[in-house]
């Protein structure tokens, strides 16, 4: 009985000790502001940073789902401090969905921004990081369809892109690994606002020299005065990083071909553009094909100090919308299409590889291959320069599993057009 009493005291002590911490760290929810998206823009004049915070609105009388507030500051931590000071609220990053880096800001070193953010213990490391076409503030000011919250709308868009392998967007922690580790770089999705002609006035007030705040509800413009609020956003390609700086951009098809080279394109719908060919593509030379399976094997040899990479790719695909006139059920025609597709994929992958290596970036972790196979030749500090000299050879083999047709062709038979 006495032993049982001791156990009871022990258990109650442990349980109660958890609640004791509330004496210091209790923070009522009404004193918190949750941040669902952060935008980072860079301006040429001091203070350089223009940070946009997107917070969900919870009031019953709200007219928008979220509010974007912009603060000029010397760093993101200063902007957060100004925000917390002026609003008397503690900013929480526990449900952060996306970090948006503006196009200009992405050309500056981002490690300071990331470092500042990671100093907040409640930061959600699974938040996506993307680069905005234009500036981040404009992207976060887009009013999405059906009055949704922009941060969540962006997250859904990126989730879909991730699932469909269109442009796999890295999360913050994946980005940090690639940013810090030599021999690998990040490739982040580039998103831009699209579409509306409806002009709307904005309510902006500019801050002082030492930092200031611009408060605007969602739907506000980007550069003051009259603006054109956008209605939607779209993935425009990918930003190519070298360490913590963006060194170039890729189009969406180029990003897709890089995904093929990485071996991560399973389930991707690839849009292919073919050279005119009388046999298969007499009129339409555009085709969408589903990548059902692929294996990408890389081989590396170093000759006279120059890395030679050889990629052997085996792809099993199913064309979705072949619009040519050839009967693909005949083996000679389908084999010809396989050859043309293989050549097309190999050429496009090679072009994408040459484009990114010319920028000095290594999103395919080619440097890691060199480090493992030729450790004596591995120079992590100069890899950004050395990768530019790398040579590539791409060999591709395509197998068509399904041409997507149940019958050969559906068209009017023995009918004269009116």
């Amino acid at each position: 009985m006495r032993l049982l009493l001791k156990y009871l005291i022990l258990v109650s002590l442990i349980v109660n000790s958890v609640f004791l911490t509330g004496c210091w760290d209790a923070l009522p929810v009404e004193n918190r502001i949750f941040c669902i998206a952060i935008g980072v823009d860079w301006l040429p004049e001091e203070p350089h940073y223009e940070i946009t915070f997107l917070n969900p609105l919870v009031e019953e009388t709200r007219s928008e789902q979220s509010r974007a507030r912009t603060i000029r500051a010397h760093s993101i931590s200063e902007a957060i401090a100004i925000f917390q000071h002026t609003s008397s609220h503690y900013m929480s990053f526990g449900i952060l969905s996306v970090l948006v880096i503006g196009e200009e800001a992405s050309k500056q070193k981002q490690s300071f921004t990331i470092d500042d953010l990671f100093s907040f213990p409640d930061l959600r490391p699974n938040a996506y990081i993307i680069v905005a076409k234009g500036n981040a503030k404009a992207l976060l000011s887009v009013m999405p369809p059906e009055n949704q919250r922009m941060g969540l709308y962006l997250r859904d868009l990126l989730d879909r892109a991730n699932n469909q392998r269109d442009s796999p967007p890295p999360t913050l922690h994946e980005y940090v690994i690639r940013m810090m580790t030599p021999g690998m770089d990040a490739l982040t999705t580039m998103v831009g606002p699209i579409g509306s002609l409806d002009p709307r006035a904005t309510g902006q007030k500019t801050g002082g020299d030492g930092g200031g705040e611009v408060d605007q509800s969602e739907g506000g413009g980007s550069q003051g005065g009259q603006s054109t609020p956008e209605k939607d956003v779209e993935i425009m390609g990918a930003a190519v990083w070298q360490g913590d700086i963006v060194v170039g951009q890729l189009t969406l098809p180029e990003t897709q071909y890089l995904s093929l080279a990485q071996g991560t394109a399973k389930g991707m719908l690839l849009q292919m553009l073919f050279a005119p060919d009388e046999r298969l593509f007499p009129q339409a030379n555009r085709m969408v094909t589903l990548i059902e399976q692929e294996t990408a094997s890389w081989d590396l040899t170093v000759m006279e100090g120059v890395p030679h990479y050889r990629l052997t790719l085996k792809v099993r695909s199913s064309p979705q919308n072949y619009e040519g006139t050839s009967d693909l059920s005949k083996s000679e025609n389908s084999e010809l299409l396989e050859q043309i597709m293989a050549l097309n994929i190999a050429q496009n992958i090679l072009a994408s590889l040459q484009k990114i290596t010319a920028m000095g970036s290594d999103p395919l972790c080619l440097g890691q291959q060199l480090r493992l196979k030729y450790p004596d030749l591995w120079d992590p500090q100069n890899w950004g320069e050395n990768i530019k000299n790398s040579q590539f050879k791409v060999e591709c083999e395509v197998t068509i599993r399904n041409i997507g047709l149940q019958i050969l062709r559906i068209e009017p038979v023995n009918k004269k057009p009116n």
Binding site: T21, W24, D25, I95, T181, C365
Partner: protein
Amino acid sequence: MKAKPSITTFQYGILIVGALIANGIFTLPRVVSQDAGRSAWVVIAFVGLVVFGIAALAHLVASHYPGQDPAEWSLTLLGPVLGRLWLFSYLIKSCFFAVLTAKIYAAIVTSRMLLTTPSSVIAAIVLIVSVMAVLAKLGGLARFSEVSVYVWLPLLTLFVQIIEHDQFYLLRPIFGDASVSDLFKASRQAAYSFAGFDILLFAYPHLHKQKAPLRTVLWAMVFVTAVYVLTTIAATTFLGLEQMTRILAPTLTILSIAETSIVERIDSIALFLWMGIVVITAATQLYMGTRALQGIIKGVSYHKTIMTLGSFLLVITWGDTPLREVVAVSAIFGDFDLSFVAISVVVFLVLIYIKKASQKNAPFT
């Protein structure tokens, strides 16, 4: 004091696990990788093997005195003066260890979650609960250890998410990144995470089966080493060497990345659940310190000794120390602790055999 049989062979093993595992799981991957690079997990496996050797010797020493613990047989083997001096050193070591364990946990909690709570408060909670656990005697401590390990064990399955990342090339080459001297330095850094297994010396006399098999010590050490090795492999492949060596507690960072539909921040829950294991580690040290003090001063009450020692530790734990400093001190202390226990065990083993030999050669009286 004649020890009462109160723990099973399995509890004996789980007590060793509980006494060891709190010290290394959060910070070990970083402290070892800083010197050993990608070979960190190999170094940890090697240190685990060495410590198992020392633990096996300690088990052998304990098995020679099945009804007594070191508070008693140390005086028999070393004599009243040297024996008390050794017990005093043991007492200091145990107190220091208990304080370090509480302070490291408190510093991690207050730097990650409870930012405005003084770390002394968390350390005090750990110590008070540890005193309560020791008051339940070794049987209660062993049961508490079982529960704490069972509660935390499922969280280790979260490390399977590293398979998704498929970044095992970050572990290669296994050797070649660090020199032999660096590997040796790293193994000394790992020592702290394996300190505390000497609880088996004190637990042995309380076993129901007086002849506990050595394989109990083996599975306990293999379990702890496997957890450490897997944690280090997970941290290296998940975070990369460059990032991992800049994060104070890489294991918690990995847990913070794991998200489920029910619980978004698993690291917060893991950190609080971990308190049970931390209490076991601190309590085992407190128990050993209490028994050492009882050995020095014969006839003092068990309960009063615990309360006095607990109060003393509570006072010296007070004050905030940055996590980096506590971890740096623990690395030095771990080196000392392992050396102290290893040398003591070897000396005791030699003395036991000398004593046995002299008894064999002694004429019948």
